[in-house]
């Protein structure tokens, strides 16, 4: 018998889908109890196109090679004390936001894809999901291992798991992923696989990680780009899911459209944090948030939705509002960080003159008109020894859980207020996007663990700010507040001074 070489596709077929069988001792509905209630109709699971077609042998081989390279960089970075070579001590704060706000969500994605990797009825789909579950575990673990070295020298990273469960702004990413994890398996796939991975993750991992490289953080850019090599597989899975659902049955279209609308908006709100990281927290900048949005959403997302139009799927609702907000969102969110950093686990600061000019150049339509005056006022207050902090507890949106800080579409001087009354209780929203999401599933969002409201209800360690910060495990005077005057700054300045004296 002569052995012929199988094509990638045939080999994959034999090595994955063909493993599945039609059960007869138990009913398929008992084995897969969760994949019908959402109303998605699947006529034929074999219509699923496998993205990438990786078998476990190649998976182990490629991933091991990536890991060997990544850990070599992490080790070298630690041995060479690479942390002293980043562009500025302020930079470390992006890692604090990353570790507390994003890494725990990689973990949630890991468990969520284990769920879909077990409970979707199609064998090919399950294998793709399980590999993504493994990848997501990789991401959280490599992020911890990379940032572990920074944690040895800088504050604010040391209590990341408990802070993720408790601290007010971290309920924004946590509620996003709790929402996805508690949705049915198909909605989870659209939420994370499509809206998050395909439409939005590029904005986090490509320009932002390129920014890490530019700021001398070689270990972070290495984990970032290394993670992205997995993300490309995930994006392919995400788009495959959507095409598959739309091809299977016309009745799926309105359901999928609703999920796309919902998760686009939730993702947009969540990524507003990255907008502030890019425009304000990277000392050296690669591109502005607006430029990144134009490349990765307007251009790439536009091409994608043009492609999907053949199935009847439309651009996400409020995509135009999101694009308009691209002019504002980073400034608004930095304003939030600046005035609430006394109750946060990272530092904020006033942008310097050069930085303000960069913002003016990048945002010619809006920055000087709306945001420069705000910074001028705060700078003046700082000079007078009255560094401005918001003294109250903010009103939170009952959907995205961010403070209600966003402005009316078309009028950036007016706060946007929306509300709904459900079973006699009023709920507030920062936008039409968030209100629509609540109104679609009010029984879900009345459960929101809104951190500020929980403080008022007495569930967060006490009634005073110091008690709450203690419960948050935020070390007051160390982890929180202004960068200027922080122990991080003192350490950074000492290193810089030592380097300077060596050089002279």
């Amino acid at each position: 018998m002569t052995a012929k070489k199988l094509s990638l596709k045939q080999r994959y077929e034999f090595l994955t889908r063909d493993l599945d069988w039609e059960p007869s001792y138990q009913s398929a509905d008992d084995i897969y109890p969760y994949d019908k209630f959402e109303g998605i109709k699947i006529k034929d699971w074999s219509g699923w196109e496998d993205p990438f077609r990786l078998t476990m042998d190649s998976y182990w081989k490629f991933q091991a090679e990536k890991e060997r390279k990544l850990y070599a960089v992490i080790d070298a970075f630690a041995q060479n004390n690479g942390q002293t070579g980043v562009s500025d001590g302020r930079y470390i704060n992006v890692l604090k936001v990353f570790l507390t706000g994003i890494s725990p969500e990689e973990y949630q994605a890991h468990r969520g894809f284990a769920f879909t990797g077990r409970h979707l009825r199609g064998a090919g789909t399950r294998v793709a999901c399980q590999m993504q579950s493994l990848d997501e575990l990789r991401h959280v673990q490599t992020q911890i291992h990379t940032i572990s070295h920074y944690n040895k020298y800088f504050d604010g990273m040391s209590e990341f798991p408990i802070q993720h469960d408790r601290v007010f702004y971290l309920s924004v990413p946590k509620s996003f992923f709790d929402d996805a994890r508690t949705a049915g398996p198909f909605e989870f796939m659209v939420a994370v696989g499509f809206a998050f991975e395909y439409v939005l993750t590029n904005l986090l991992f490509v320009p932002f990680m390129s920014g890490a490289a530019y700021n001398g953080d070689m270990s972070t850019v290495t984990f970032g780009f290394s993670a992205q090599s997995d993300e490309s597989r995930h994006m392919t899975l995400g788009i495959e899911v959507i095409k598959f659902l739309l091809e299977q049955h016309p009745d799926n279209l309105p359901i999928v459209q609703r999920w796309v609308d919902k998760w686009f908006w939730r993702g947009f709100r969540l990524l507003g944090i990255v907008a502030a990281m890019m425009d304000y927290m990277l000392p050296k900048k690669v591109m502005s948030w607006k430029e990144a949005w134009d490349i990765y959403f307007v251009e790439a997302g536009g091409a994608l939705f043009q492609d999907l139009a053949r199935y009847g799927l439309k651009m996400p609702k409020y995509a135009d509002i999101a694009t308009e907000a691209g002019e504002h969102i980073s400034h608004q969110n930095w304003g939030l960080f600046y005035q609430l950093c006394h109750v946060a686990g990272f530092h904020a600061w006033m942008p310097d003159a050069e930085h303000l000019d960069w913002l003016s150049a990048k945002y010619p339509n809006t920055f000087d008109k709306y945001y420069r005056p705000r910074f001028e006022m705060w700078a003046k207050q700082e000079k007078e020894g009255k560094r401005f902090f918001f003294n109250g507890l903010p009103q939170l949106c009952s959907c995205c859980q961010l403070p209600m800080l966003y402005t009316e579409p078309g009028d950036p001087t007016k706060t946007c207020f929306r509300s709904s009354v459900f079973k006699g209780t009023r709920y507030h929203f920062c936008s039409d996007g968030c209100k629509d999401i609540f109104d679609g599933e009010p029984e879900k969002y009345v459960q929101s663990w809104l951190p500020v409201n929980q403080i008022f209800q007495g569930n967060c360690g006490g009634a005073t700010v110091p008690e709450v910060l203690d419960w948050y495990k935020i070390n007051v005077g160390v982890d929180n507040g202004d960068y200027v005057g922080s122990p991080d700054e003192a350490l950074w300045n000492a290193w810089t001074a030592q380097r300077f004296s060596e050089a002279s």
Binding site: F52, S210, S232, D307
Partner: protein, 91 residues
Amino acid sequence: MMTQLASITLMRNDDARPIIDAIMADNPDVCVLNMPGAVKLDCDGRLRVNRASVEERMGRAWSPQEIQLVLVSMAGNLEEDDDQFTLSWHK
């Protein structure tokens, strides 16, 4: 209708260089955006990576699956087999 860019972003390192060169040779209308640590290659509608072109530049056998080792991002529908890795939008 706006242009639909098929796009691939690769790490900028020694392993990726032959792939980047092959893409630039095989996709004449490619547009290159350099970023710190990465390079983004865009084509209108379709972008193709040919195994043979990469192997020629690499001097060894290469499987299109290996692109994953240096891949950062992409846009377009993926078609991959033993000889090529193509990203395209439906026209």
